[in-house]
Every structure is written in structure tokens, then in C-alpha cells.
């Protein structure tokens, strides 16, 4: 005779809030659509150390296995995380099949070298934005799973960026060139930040904002449809990551004004180190700025023309950066003389 289970069913009385009936919107059943009843309540402080899904019934005997260091909403939250996550899911692309690799034709040696040097640099830096968010994901309570999911999508995006630039370097008779060491374990780097907002201000606002401009420029200076597609699609992803940073900083600025001065310090540092330094491919670093100038000018013999375009890129980078920081709620630094950006813009226009 088959054994019969003695059912207790006590758990049915210990479940989360009942009666949730989220309905799909025109865009399907999105994360925004399931913020129903108690399930849409995001705690200001999370006491969830067991990794339970937000809104699930808690077991008092559960182990505190989370060890989460990010448990305050203002430390990681942004209002549009659900949208950015869904957007990332929708806009995934494949570097294997969505880039028309067949369109690549042999290029003059100086152009190919410049393209490969830039690709080497971008291969090198892209996964900063993979390694670092990953580390923070595991330290963030699942009560804030929406921003965590955006970061997970970002790690995925960066893996694809690393891959597409490697592909480009090896697809046209070139190869990888010299690494720049543009990302290193030094104080003030994106990698070593010990606070999420500090990391995000460096990574999402200044770092990726600068790289977004480069990707857009890559599309402009493309020598074939493959490069055109590759840079355009990377730029889309990057713009999403930048949007995360802007919206998180805006949320932080509104909900934790006591941290504004501290955040201004990160921006000071970012403006010194990233906008003018080695992590900015349009910065003074020789490998990437020279290769950009060659690509923009159309060859070594038109270097000066390329430099002029590069200066225009920098201006654009700085203008967009300034507007993003304003959008994030930190615009006064540009009006009270704290930020050197205005001077940078004026100097580059001279």
C-alpha cells in the first residue's frame, strides 16, 4: 500500500499578504505592475537578513545568512529601477549575430591599429562595470531587488561589451595591442569604493557618462556597418547605466540631504580623476586619445583634424556630464565655483 502523507498545512496561515492580483499592462506584466498592495511597500530600512523575497512570510528560526551591508533604501534606491530593468531585458542584443561582421573590409594600417588600440582599451575597462556592480549585488538586501536586477542586467551588458570589442580587435587583420592600466587598484578608483553611492557616482555618472560619449563617437567614426552597429548598441546600454546613476543620485539627494556634501566630494574627485584622467578614453592618455584622433581625422596624416574633433568630443562630454549632475540634483556646484567644469569648457573652447 502506498504511503499517505499526514498534512499539517499550518504554513497556509503564515504566508505573505493574500489577494494580490496584478494585471498586465500594455507592456506585458512588468515589475511596475506587480507593485500591488503590501508587495509594493519598500522598507526604508530592511531587516531582512535571511534572503526572503520581499513580502513573504518570515520564519523566526531562519538563519541570518545575508550579511547585507546595503540595507537602507536611500543607499541604493532609484524611482525607475523597474523600468530600467525591463528596458534592459527588452534591449538585449547579440554581438555574434546583430553586428554585421561581414561588412568589415581591410583598413589602412594606421586606422586598423587605432581601432585595435581603442578596442583593447575598451575591452580592458568595460568589465570594471561588470566586476564592481556584481560585488555590490551580493551585499544588497533582496528587499531592494529592483535596483539589484538593474545591476545584474548591467553586468550582463558589460560582459557583452567586453566581448564585442575583443571581437572587433580580432576580426580585421589586427589584434589586441597594449593594455593601458586604465583601471587599477588605487585609492579613489571605482573598484575600491566602500560605499555604493560613492561607487555609483564614479561609475555611472562620470565614468560611464564619458564612455557613452565615446561610444556615440565610435558610431560617428565607424569605418563600416559592423562598427556602426557595435558602438550604437553599446551606447544604448551605456545610456541605461548612466540613467541608473542619475536617478539613484537624485533619490539620494532628496532623501538623505545630510550626505550631499560628501557626494560633492566624490564628484570633485571624479572630475579630477576621471574626466581628465586615464579612465576617460578622450582624456589625455596617449593610447586612447591618439587612436581616437587618428580615427576621427581619418588617418595619422590628418591627426590635427582628428584632435579638433576630439576637443569637440570633450566639450560634449563635459556639457552632458554637467547636465546629468544637474539632473541628479547637484547643479549648484557649477554655479558656486566648486566645479572646474565650466572652466574646462571655456578653456577647451579657446
Amino acid at each position: 500500500m502506498e504511503p499517505v502523507l499526514d498534512m499539517q498545512l499550518d504554513w497556509m496561515d503564515q504566508q505573505g499578504s493574500w489577494g494580490a492580483a496584478a494585471e498586465p499592462s500594455k507592456q506585458g506584466l512588468t515589475l511596475a505592475d506587480i507593485q500591488v498592495g503590501a508587495y509594493g511597500d519598500v522598507p526604508e530600512e530592511s531587516d531582512n537578513m535571511t534572503g526572503r523575497p520581499r513580502g513573504a512570510g518570515a520564519r523566526p528560526e531562519s538563519y541570518r545568512i545575508g550579511g547585507y551591508s546595503v540595507r537602507s533604501k536611500h543607499e541604493i534606491w532609484l524611482e525607475n529601477a523597474s523600468f530600467l530593468y525591463e528596458e534592459a531585458l527588452q534591449r538585449q542584443w547579440s554581438s555574434a549575430t546583430d553586428v554585421p561582421w561581414d561588412s568589415i573590409e581591410p583598413l589602412p594600417d594606421d586606422i586598423e591599429q587605432a581601432e585595435c588600440q581603442l578596442a583593447t582599451f575598451l575591452t580592458e575597462v568595460e568589465f570594471v562595470a561588470g566586476d564592481v556592480p556584481a560585488r555590490w549585488i551580493s551585499q544588497t538586501t533582496p528587499d531592494y531587488f529592483e535596483p539589484r536586477n538593474v545591476l545584474l542586467a548591467q553586468v550582463m551588458d558589460e560582459a557583452r561589451h567586453m566581448d564585442v570589442f575583443r571581437k572587433r580587435a580580432l576580426a580585421n587583420g589586427g589584434g589586441l595591442m597594449g593594455a593601458t592600466g586604465g583601471t587599477a587598484g588605487v585609492v579613489g578608483s571605482i573598484d575600491l569604493a566602500r560605499d555604493f553611492t560613492e561607487m555609483s557616482s564614479r561609475l555611472h555618472i562620470s565614468g560611464e557618462g564619458a564612455v557613452l560619449t565615446i561610444f556615440r563617437m565610435g558610431e560617428l567614426m565607424a569605418y563600416n556597418e559592423a562598427e556602426k552597429a557595435m558602438y550604437r548598441l553599446c551606447a544604448q546600454d551605456e545610456a541605461r547605466h548612466v540613467a541608473f546613476g542619475v536617478m539613484h543620485m537624485r533619490y539620494m539627494s532628496e532623501t538623505a540631504p545630510e550626505r550631499r556634501e560628501e557626494i560633492d566630494c566624490y564628484l570633485d574627485e571624479a572630475e579630477r580623476q576621471i574626466l581628465a584622467g586615464s579612465q576617460n578614453p578622450a582624456g589625455a592618455q596617449a593610447e586612447s586619445s591618439e587612436s581616437l584622433a587618428i580615427l576621427l581625422g581619418g588617418g595619422k596624416d590628418q591627426y590635427d583634424e582628428g584632435v579638433n574633433k576630439l576637443i569637440a568630443i570633450r566639450r560634449r562630454q563635459l556639457q552632458e556630464y554637467q547636465k546629468r549632475v544637474r539632473s541628479a540634483g547637484f547643479g549648484e556646484r557649477f554655479d558656486n565655483g566648486r566645479s572646474p567644469i565650466k572652466e574646462m569648457l571655456a578653456a577647451s573652447a579657446a
Partner: protein, 143 residues
């Protein structure tokens, strides 16, 4: 035959764009924003929602204050872009939206509100907008 620029023309492009599923992959996808198109002195307002461009209408100058961003080019440049698309079935090197944006002193994409977060939607959904205008290759256009 649809005359550019007109709501009829944008509607014809919408129809092609909304009906082609290939535009939903390869970096395309859902897109939620309101974009202005300033073609010389004429203004059109396009609304994108989900996977479709759901509306195209005539606009007034003050509508440009409300849109997330708007594309602004002299009519001759719009025509050059559309002719390039018609000849190649898609925008080629110098005629993609991003390149046109960077090639112009004041950019192609701009806004009145100056909020870069909203202006960045032009980048975040760039492939969708490119697909949208690429779809115009299948619309018989007169000028």
C-alpha cells in the same frame, strides 16, 4: 505616395515600423517616450509606447517644451537623410541619427527643459528611433 513632412507621412512610417517584428529585437525593444520632430518650421509630435509608435500629430512650438527631446534639422537635411535611407534601405554612415547629432554644432537632439536624464532617452532608445526612420525606406515619399 506620402508627402514629407506631414502627419500622413509619419503615419505611413508608423504603420511599417509597428508591423515589422524584426525591429523589436537586435537592440530594439520597448520604448516609452514622447519625441518632437522639428522639420524646418514644422513640428510633429511622436508618441512611443511599448513596442509601437502609437501616435503622430501636428505640434506647436510650445509642445516642444513638453517632449522628452526633439530632433531639429533644416528641411534640406531631413530630406538628405531620408534620401540616403531610401537608397540604402537604412541609414548609412553619415546619415544615422547619432552621427547627425554629433556632426552638428548644436546637435540634432535637444530639449527645452535641459534635463539630461530625459534627453538621454534619445540614446537609450537610439536603435528604435533608427529603426523607425529606416522603416521610411518602405514608404513612397514625395517632397
Amino acid at each position: 505616395m506620402a508627402k514629407f513632412p506631414s502627419v500622413v507621412w509619419f503615419d505611413a512610417v508608423r504603420k511599417v515600423f509597428n508591423g515589422d517584428e524584426s525591429y523589436q529585437g537586435a537592440g530594439g525593444g520597448q520604448c516609452n517616450c514622447v519625441a518632437g520632430m522639428k522639420v524646418g518650421n514644422k513640428i510633429f509630435i511622436l508618441t512611443f509606447e511599448g513596442l509601437e509608435c502609437i501616435d503622430a500629430r501636428d505640434g506647436k512650438d510650445k509642445d516642444l517644451e513638453e517632449v522628452d527631446f526633439y530632433l531639429d534639422m533644416p528641411i534640406a537635411d531631413w530630406r538628405a537623410m531620408l534620401k540616403n535611407i531610401a537608397e540604402n534601405n537604412r541609414a548609412t554612415r553619415d546619415c544615422t541619427l547619432n552621427t547627425l547629432d554629433l556632426d552638428r554644432e548644436d546637435g540634432l537632439s535637444t530639449s527645452r527643459h535641459g534635463d539630461q536624464y530625459r534627453e538621454d532617452l534619445f540614446f537609450r532608445y537610439n536603435q528604435t528611433f533608427q529603426f523607425f526612420f529606416d522603416a521610411s525606406a518602405r514608404v513612397k515619399t514625395s517632397y
